[in-house]
Amino acid sequence: MSEEAVSTLMDAWRAAWPQALAAWSRFTRLQDPRLCATRVEAAGEGLSGSFAMIRLVDQRVVIDLAEVTRFGLHDHAVEILAHEIGHHVLAPATASDHARLLARIRRALPTLEAHAPMVANLYTDLLINDRLQRQCGLRMAEIYQRLAAHAGPSTPGASPVWTLYMGIYEQLWQQAAGTLGGPVDDAELRGDAWLGARVIRVYAGEWMDGAGRFAALLLPRLLEQAGDARVDALMDTRQAGQGSQPAGLDRLEEDELAPVPHPSMDPRITGEAADVDQAVVQGDDAPARDGQPGAQAREPFEYGEILRAAGLDLDDHQLAVRYYRERALPHLVRYPVRPQPQALEPQIEGLEPWEPGDPLDAVDWLQSVLQSPRVVPGLTTVQRVYGLAPGREPDDEPIDLDLYVDSSGSMPDPQQRTSWLALAGAVIALSALRVGARVQATLWSGKHQYLHTGDFVRSEDEVLKVLTGYFGGATAFPIHRLRETYAQRPPQARAVHILHLSDDGITTMFDDDERGTSGWDVAAGALAAARGGGTMALNLYSPLPDTLADRAAAGWTADLLRARDAGWDIHVVRDMPELLGFAQAFSRRHYQQAGTGTGR
């Protein structure tokens, strides 16, 4: 295209934007569309493979005008822009709902979950286009006619998915069979197209509920689905979630667990047996899970697959960080803080000139006007001067947290399965960071296998990254880390609580260090220097005897009993109830220990 033609096209599409918005609402949070003149420009915006996309993270529509022109759709600006706006307003609307939609569709596509993004895209396109064509009078059908015409006779035959998809539009818009490329002679496909159209209409207002049914309808057609350029050109939500932060995915929702009925078995769709108990279709026969609605947690692996399907480009470790943060947040505890000998409070001591260059909000306007009703900056302006005076209430200061995470082969890999210890660590670490504490985290396994944050830090990501790492090697506690942390820590530094997440392998902490010093001595020294106490949360399957003076104990049991005598608070954490109990006990113990202090 010539520069002039591009410019004219850009102007036309910009002019179409308000009209497209009007199809939904003029008061959306969408930014103006990003109109790209070339494919390279579009690729730079994350758009490739299709001619349009919605980005949920910054709520922006991106259009590849070169591709639009190639498909002969340049005069459908309002339709295409309104369609993309529909993804923002109607479905999926938000990154979280996009991910929830994908989770439901994946459930309905056993072994073919990889197709979930495509199915979700087709489903939401149907919902949007049906509304735009019927209620707003936009020419959505023409877009598909143009796409079919563009494919031309040289393009390989349409896939069954495409034929069914077009058949659904023909049913929705009462077009003659085959007008848009839907099935003509295939009675089974025509029947499925009718069911698909019913799903779109019946579940238009509860589209999340209809998603599984739509996927179940497509399932047999997906089995042999190869690449289809027609379908690929429509994938405008495939990268929609890129850069976003979907929330609430750590738990399975009730309706997700219910069996997904094929639309032909749903009386709301078929209109048959309308007196059948709706509960059966709506999945109320699904087994109750401990009487708690939505109580079942999603495993990290599935969580990651859903986020990836939503377009998030994250590796396993980054996904694990998000997963444990999301699971830990509802369970944060009152983290211990300690009273300081004295708190200082600001006390007004007088006024001094305010000069240009000082912060504007520091000007004391009342006093300045009293100096002179005619304000001359730098001449008549004044600001308050503060000194510090002992306060009446003592100040609080959080204790820091020193976290040691066992990552030997006997521990679960937190990136694959829920690790209750990693979750316990996340709960305590995030609670600590929330009240202003600093956290040092060390991940360890065999000899020389350890990694850690750079000193005590305030970064959630940095701490969670260490917490969710995995070596899976041998077991040798890095005793030198413990030794050096407290040898180098100045006595006036904040108190520290030492928290170990491990199993019986924690007893390797008591082995001699490389200098021949007893690990018992190093641990005792660290505990004393830390001044904030020490806890072990352990994945143990042989519970410790209740009695400390169990003389018969041997091996690691004896070591742990001795550690308890030495001042380590030991908890067993193997499941959610034990984790919650541990978190509460941790908070209670240290809150009470703090005496006059407070937990925040």
């Binding site: 056993p110 072994t111 073919l112 979950e113 990889a114 197709h115 089995l223 042999e224 689905q225 190869a226 495993e299 990290p300 692996f301 599935e302 697959e305 082969g409 679960p412 890999d413 990136q415 694959q416 399965r417 899976g472």
Partner: protein, 323 residues
């Protein structure tokens, strides 16, 4: 005669090294059940006529996801006297009655397992799968010990992440009641990007070869056969060193034939595109009897480039000389 048949490319696991990883978007094929039954019946008649035992071995994908596989296998075993075998990822073992149904339908069951711990779950994308797999294998072993005519085998894919725990895995499998263990090294044909990260090095294979005699002996003492013949280990070593091993006449070395999901029959899985014949071409017992020579003639007429570095584990006696 052992006929390996990939009856489906559908799978429910996400193995980063496998072509049929469920995360890979591609057409999934299920072989036509009527054609399977027709060919199997013909093989049964061939067995009677020739006296040569025939074993049908289902591969996938995950063959136990192929609709009707249990009923058909049981029928073929009972009505035609064929021996039936399946290689499974074990995900269906937890279903009620599944273990009993498998013992009734199959003479041999091979379970794919790569490590004794969470490494297997991670590699296969099956969180929590290890305990299910161990439980399923133990229940199969109990049925066998109670009298079911069943051979229980495990197959291990050796790669960087699984090699260190191979000995421990063998010990676990012996504990669970597995009686044969086979292994293959990670191949690079299906997922080269995974292979680059995980392939065995020559030093890995050297260590494996050095450790093998003691491991074979230890397992033998426990009644477990670890298939680790010298020729096969030499194949592993050559692959790790990037040395091509050409095999231009494999008939005498390979007890197997292969049929793919499109019902094309060939000497092995990698020569289907070159020499494959449609199973429709098998109309009579005579056709089956002539099959090997017919395939051999096709191979000689237009040798396949892939034979210049034969990747077939059967040719290198993965299952030992008696397989």
């Amino acid at each position: 005669m052992i006929v390996l048949w990939r009856i489906t490319t559908v799978c429910n696991l996400a193995c980063g090294f496998c072509a049929y990883d469920r995360r890979v978007v591609q057409p999934r094929r299920q072989v036509d059940a009527d054609e399977v039954e027709r060919v199997a019946t013909l093989l049964g008649r061939y067995q009677v006529a020739s006296g040569e035992p025939v074993m049908l071995s289902w591969l996938g994908g995950e063959p136990l996801l192929w609709p009707g596989v249990l009923a058909l296998s049981r029928r073929l075993r009972q009505q035609h006297g064929l021996r039936l075998s399946v290689t499974t990822n074990g995900t269906t073992l937890r279903r009620a009655g599944m273990v009993e149904a498998l013992a009734e339908a199959f003479d041999e069951i091979t379970v794919s397992i790569d490590a004794p711990d969470a490494v297997h779950e991670r590699l296969r994308g099956w969180p929590g799968g290890m305990s299910q797999l161990a439980d399923g294998i133990r229940r199969l072993a109990r049925l066998r010990d109670a009298g079911a005519a069943l051979t229980l085998r495990a197959n291990v894919v050796l790669m960087q992440d699984t090699l260190p725990s191979f000995e421990a895995l063998c010990a676990c499998l012996a504990d669970w009641g597995v009686e044969q263990i086979t292994f293959n090294q990670l191949g690079g044909r299906d997922r080269p990007e995974f292979h680059r990260r995980q392939a065995l090095t020559p030093a890995d294979v050297d260590r494996l070869r050095a450790a093998m005699p003691a491991l074979v002996a230890a397992l033998k003492a426990r009644g477990v056969r670890l298939h680790a013949e010298d020729g096969y280990l030499a194949r592993l070593e050559a692959s790790a060193r990037g040395q091509a091993l050409a095999v231009h006449d494999c008939e005498s070395r390979r007890p197997t034939l292969f049929i793919d999901e499109h019902a094309r029959i060939a000497p092995c899985s990698v020569t289907v595109d070159d020499f494959g014949l449609p199973t429709r071409a098998l109309r009579s017992v005579a056709d089956v009897a002539a099959l090997r020579s017919r395939l051999s003639a096709r191979r000689r007429a237009a040798p396949s480039a892939v034979c210049g570095d034969c990747p077939s584990t059967q040719v290198f006696s993965k299952f030992g000389a008696c397989a």
